[in-house]
């Protein structure tokens, strides 16, 4: 009975959509562009499936998986190995940086603030170098833009900090 009502309702639904847009055409065949090779994956449930027999077979899958090797890791005791050039927290080599502000110009969200000062050896040196890490989208464009290799990204991804969200030059220069 429930099923019947359901069918009636969907019929009504179809009728309604059709009425709005002219003559009814049901999805009978497959519409395919010329030369497109397609694979029809439509299926009708077999008798055993209708009798819930196959549903019980699902237990086989679960039981099989029960005896498999665990795939989870016990973070934070265990950690995933990450590549060296993972796009995590920034690291600034203040020795190399010449305060050219290329990184600031390349940043899509404009969160790098640099103030340079003259330096006897390399002409310019960053006095202030701030990255507003809360707004950072970790795109790595600043690193790509840096002509001296001073700015790099590390594999540090745990950036939790209770109060400070702006990385200053001292924090940036700290080796992870």
């Amino acid at each position: 009975m429930k099923l019947l009502k359901h069918k009636k309702l969907s019929k009504k639904l179809n009728l309604f959509i059709m009425l709005e847009k002219g003559s009814p055409t049901e999805a009978t065949g497959i519409i395919a562009p010329p030369e497109t090779r397609y694979k029809n994956v439509e299926r009708t449930p077999s008798l055993t499936e209708n009798l819930y027999v196959k549903a019980i077979e699902g237990f086989k899958v679960t039981i099989k998986n029960l005896f498999q090797k665990k795939v989870t890791i016990r973070y934070p005791e265990e950690r995933k190995e990450l590549p060296k050039d993972y796009r995590g927290r920034h690291y600034l080599d203040t020795e190399k940086c010449v305060a050219c502000e290329f990184c600031a110009a390349a940043c899509p969200v404009n969160i790098i603030f640099i103030a340079g000062e003259p330096h006897p050896e390399k002409i310019r040196h960053p006095r202030i170098f701030n990255i507003d890490i809360l707004k950072c989208i970790f795109c790595g464009y600043c690193v790509e833009a840096c002509p001296t290799g001073a700015l790099q990204m590390t594999d540090v991804y745990e950036l939790y900090s209770p109060e400070r969200f702006i990385l200053t030059i001292d924090e940036l220069a700290r080796k992870p």
């Binding site: 359901h6 069918k7 309702l9 969907s10 009504k12 639904l13 179809n14 309604f16 959509i17 709005e20 847009k21 055409t25 049901e26 999805a27 065949g29 497959i30 519409i31 395919a32 562009p33 010329p34 030369e35 497109t36 090779r37 397609y38 694979k39 029809n40 994956v41 439509e42 299926r43 449930p45 077999s46 499936e49 819930y52 196959k54 549903a55 077979e57 699902g58 899958v61 679960t62 099989k64 998986n65 795939v71 995933k80 990450l82 590549p83 050039d85 993972y86 796009r87 290329f102 899509p108 989208i137 970790f138 795109c139 790595g140 464009y141 790509e144 833009a145 002509p147 290799g149 990204m153």
Partner: protein
């Protein structure tokens, strides 16, 4: 039967629509400038010719840029651009309708029902009204919002803050019940209807959007959808961004398969600038490999969360295990998990190393078939799952096309439409794969299509890995002035000339040719298209994103009407709505 060339389509449409347009030309696709009085007549004739989908409908504000107006050959401040598509012949045309401020345009909803939300969006963001639209409300922004954000004179920062949104629902109702009651009645009274609000944050929505249902007993008899909770103004922001800075923004559209979004955007710029042929094959192969892997990851989430919503938790874990392995590949191959930004104009940003390749091999050879087999064993033949999904959220091929469906949702309705096949981009014509279709058009069909598509994607990756060429990952040629090639870092550090090139590239950046261009590709949910206008500067004039879910989600109202309340989660899961892409 070969495909018609643009010139042939142009001549055909010129003949059919004679006298309706004022200007016409062939650019990337045939274009017609049509006065707004003629648009309905033009659509009628297009429809007779077999054009059955409004792929995209959006506005452009030329403001005071005379050069762009000359390019578009219009004299008004605004233009509405329609992209019409003919399935299955893949004929596309663009129609440009000039509009002045304060004017209105006839609505296309009576002919192409899929224009519904697209017109609401234009109304919302440009303030252009559509005469005869059944439900012209703001769609992303609150009702009491002042101003129209995508107009060029609207400041990017906005004008004032809005706290709380004002929203008046307007229900789509089952027609035959409409007359009985108009007001929600006392829920305890016989035959009355109740209003149930779902969302904006609800476990079944997987994103922030709100649904309001009118129920009679458990049957859904009225639906209204509110979206826009995640509207970040990506299109507005793009106008203040350099072309290359938009790549990270594309990550945040469909964040489940960010790499595909990157790939399509990058390829658009490359084709536009005419450097596509010079992009090294290895870069193209890497894009295909990572793109298809992210398609698998996307389908994993789609199927997994749908199963969870229907009460099956186990398949979710198996699928997320596969997804986690794929994200491990992304960690090594691009350096990020979710927001990949893995491509750059002219190639990819990072090469695949031996270890990553081995891991990908393990995934496509072993893990994908294994996980699919497990999930298959748990769901496909499960009578409980079949009962919950078969016949639910049905949509016929014809209706699906009219609403603007693309991707797995359309293939679930029996249309073998896949842009990778009909208009191969990337390197997809080199690979051997099938397009899965199912004919019923219900939740179960869409599920079957997604399952098969994962296997097909794995097949593509396998072929790509086998033939991976070795010719560098970045474009080598210097002859293209408009795509600066950043030299390799090790030369920048040590030699003066690469350093100068580096400076030049950084300062000048990418400037695509003056004009506009459209390019669409097969993202995980359907056709993701970018339409961009360049005015010869480092920032775009406008980037329009054609989101696949936006068109699909508007039909959701009609797909759930008449079903039980509990069925909406199945329908929602099967069309895989991603709020990031929906609201942009």
């Amino acid at each position: 039967m070969g495909r018609k060339t643009n010139q042939e389509i142009f001549e055909k449409i010129s003949l059919i629509c004679k006298g309706l347009f004022t200007k016409s030309r062939v650019r990337d696709i045939p274009e017609f400038v049509v006065p707004k009085e003629n648009i309905i007549e033009l659509e009628k004739r297009l429809k007779q010719d077999g054009f059955n989908m409004i792929l995209d409908l959006f506005g452009v504000d030329f403001y005071d840029n005379q050069k762009l107006k000359d390019y578009a050959e219009v004299n008004s401040r605004f233009a509405i651009i329609y992209h019409f598509l003919k399935i299955p012949d893949n004929e596309r045309i663009r129609v440009i309708v000039p509009v002045e401020d304060g004017e209105s345009v006839p609505s296309s909803c009576s002919l192409f029902i899929g224009a519904d939300w697209f017109e609401r969006e234009v109304f919302d963001l440009f303030g252009i009204k559509f005469d005869g639209h059944p439900d012209l409300r703001r769609i992303f922004l609150p009702e009491d919002y002042e101003g129209y954000p995508l107009r060029k004179d609207f400041p990017t920062k906005g004008v004032k803050e809005y706290i709380g949104t004002k929203y008046t629902p307007n229900f789509v109702r089952l027609k035959d019940r409409n007359k009985k009651h108009t007001e929600p009645l006392d829920p305890f009274e016989e035959g009355s209807r109740m209003v149930v609000n779902v969302g904006p944050t609800h476990p079944a929505t997987h994103g922030t959007f709100r649904m309001i249902f009118e129920l009679e007993g458990e049957d859904i008899v009225g639906v209204d959808l509110e979206i826009g909770y995640l509207h970040r103004g990506v299109e507005k922001n793009s106008e203040n961004m350099r072309w290359e800075d938009f790549i990270p923004m594309t990550d945040r559209l469909n964040y489940l398969s960010a790499y595909l979004n990157n790939m399509i955007y990058t390829e658009m710029i490359e084709r536009w600038c005419g450097i596509w042929d010079d992009v090294p094959a290895r870069a193209k192969f890497i894009r295909v490999i990572l793109g298809e892997l992210s398609r698998i990851a996307d389908h994993c989430v789609s199927i997994g969360t749908m199963a969870v919503d229907l009460g099956a938790l186990t398949p979710f874990w198996y699928l997320f295990r596969l997804r986690e392995e794929i994200y491990t590949v992304f960690e090594w191959a691009v350096g990020a998990r979710l927001t990949t930004s893995g491509t750059a104009f002219g190639g990819v940003r990072k090469d695949l190393d031996e270890k990553t390749i081995n891991h990908i091999n393990y995934i496509v050879d072993k893990l994908v078939p294994e996980v699919i087999r497990d999930v298959d064993g748990l769901l496909t033949k499960n009578r409980i799952f079949i009962d919950r999904t078969r016949g639910v959220g049905k949509i016929s091929a014809r209706d699906a096309i009219e609403w603007g469906f693309t991707g797995p949702s359309l293939r679930g309705s029996g249309v073998a439409w896949d842009i990778r096949k009909v208009a191969p981009y990337g390197l997809y014509e080199e690979f051997d794969f099938d397009v899965p279709v199912a004919t019923e058009g219900d939740v179960y069909s869409r599920y079957l299509v997604r399952m098969e598509e994962m296997l097909q994607s794995a097949r593509i990756v396998k072929q790509a890995l086998k033939n991976l060429p070795d010719d560098g990952i970045m474009i080598k040629s210097d002859k293209f002035a408009n795509i600066p090639r950043l030299p390799e870092k090790k030369y920048v550090y040590t030699q003066i000339e690469p350093l100068i090139h580096h400076f030049k590239g950084m300062v000048e950046g990418v400037v695509p040719p003056f004009g506009w261009y459209y390019f669409g590709g097969e993202a995980a949910n359907g056709e993701l298209g970018y339409f961009a206008i360049s005015y010869g500067k480092r920032t775009p004039w406008r980037i329009r994103i054609r989101p696949p879910c936006f068109a699909i989600y508007q039909a959701f109202r009609h797909m759930v009407l008449g079903h039980k309340l509990a069925d909406f989660v199945a329908v929602l899961g099967s069309i895989n709505v991603i709020a990031g892409e929906l609201d942009r």
